[in-house]
Subunit: 197 residues, 2 copies
């Protein structure tokens, strides 16, 4: 028994059965141990979920340093996305919890550093960070099915006869969602806006 073994088993459980299926008792069973043993290494269910989120966050690779701001920011965004899509059912933990731990600051540093190096004043850099992050969180929540598609959950035929003119007109495009393309479309908007200080 160790904290790490517990967190890894927890992540595996989320990956396989989904967040809603995770319980301390089932996790203990999976580890062949009494439920209460977990409490020696983890502070409770909430702390367990925080711990899993931190593992995911820590696994995001630091992209190679690049003198071009846009290149760096793009690589960071894609790295974050890849990490979340690697564990889609666990991603909401990262996208949804406020982590107090210091490891949660690594991605902040990764985004802030290139912005400051590019000449951004710190206040603008923080605004930029937060805008990009909001977009990333919103987009990724949608990708992992934890946020509304606002239309995507409906069938084409249903959209067409909704009685809503704009929805009907755009029905063929609403009915499908190419996450990759949507991600690039939105990311380009953010990166264009942050092109220079």
């Amino acid at each position: 028994m160790s904290r790490e073994r517990i967190l890894l088993a927890g992540l595996a459980m989320v990956d396989e059965e989904g967040l809603a299926a995770v319980s301390m008792r089932k996790l203990a069973r999976r580890l062949g141990v009494d439920p209460m043993s977990l409490y020696n290494h983890v502070d409770g269910k909430d702390a367990l979920l925080d711990g899993i989120a931190e593992m995911l966050l820590a696994a995001i690779p630091a992209p190679p340093a690049d003198p071009d701001l846009r290149e760096t920011m793009s690589a960071l965004a894609h790295g974050f996305r890849a990490a979340m899509l690697g564990h889609p059912r666990a991603a909401p933990l990262v996208l949804t919890r406020r982590l107090a731990s210091i490891t949660a600051l690594a991605p902040v540093e990764a985004v802030l550093a290139p912005l400051l190096a590019a000449g951004y004043p710190p206040d603008r850099a923080v605004h930029g960070l937060r805008a990009v992050l909001a977009f990333l969180v919103g987009t990724l929540m949608r990708e992992v099915e934890a946020a509304p598609t606002f239309g995507g959950a409906h069938r084409l035929a249903e959209l067409e006869r909704s009685g809503l003119p704009a929805v009907s007109a755009a029905a063929p495009y609403l009915a499908v969602c190419d996450h990759e393309a949507e991600f690039e479309f939105g990311l380009r908007i953010m990166l264009d806006a942050l092109a220079e200080p």
Copy 2:
């Protein structure tokens, strides 16, 4: 007993005690009724939460028609924000659930219609809709404390001695978060990008 009375009591309960505190049994107690009575009007806990989300969504006011696209989009975004901030603890229901109901299409129509009227081809209009929505979802999740601040959860002193250079340099700005200003900053980026088809 009626579906509406149940949904209203459910919303009140979320407002007062938070999402995690909602249970079918407590809701029944609040209504002075047997827990199982609720099942005659609502399909279970998940359907109850969907129903509450739909109520919130339906309460978003339709802004007055304005020939200016930017004005219209801005009014829609602010209306959506106001509706979520009016029920911050319930907002994650809207921001987090995929509603299959037809009422979930009203906001889509509201955003799509002005974009089409402004000359957007339908495919571009849907991209624009999704990018704006992703930003709104991400920002509002942060505002209602359901998404990471990535830094905001930390104290100033802690940020300064984090050992991370960019984080230290920007610490005073990371330590505070003016949600209003962040919202306007990000929204402006999105609206600028959507200024013309």
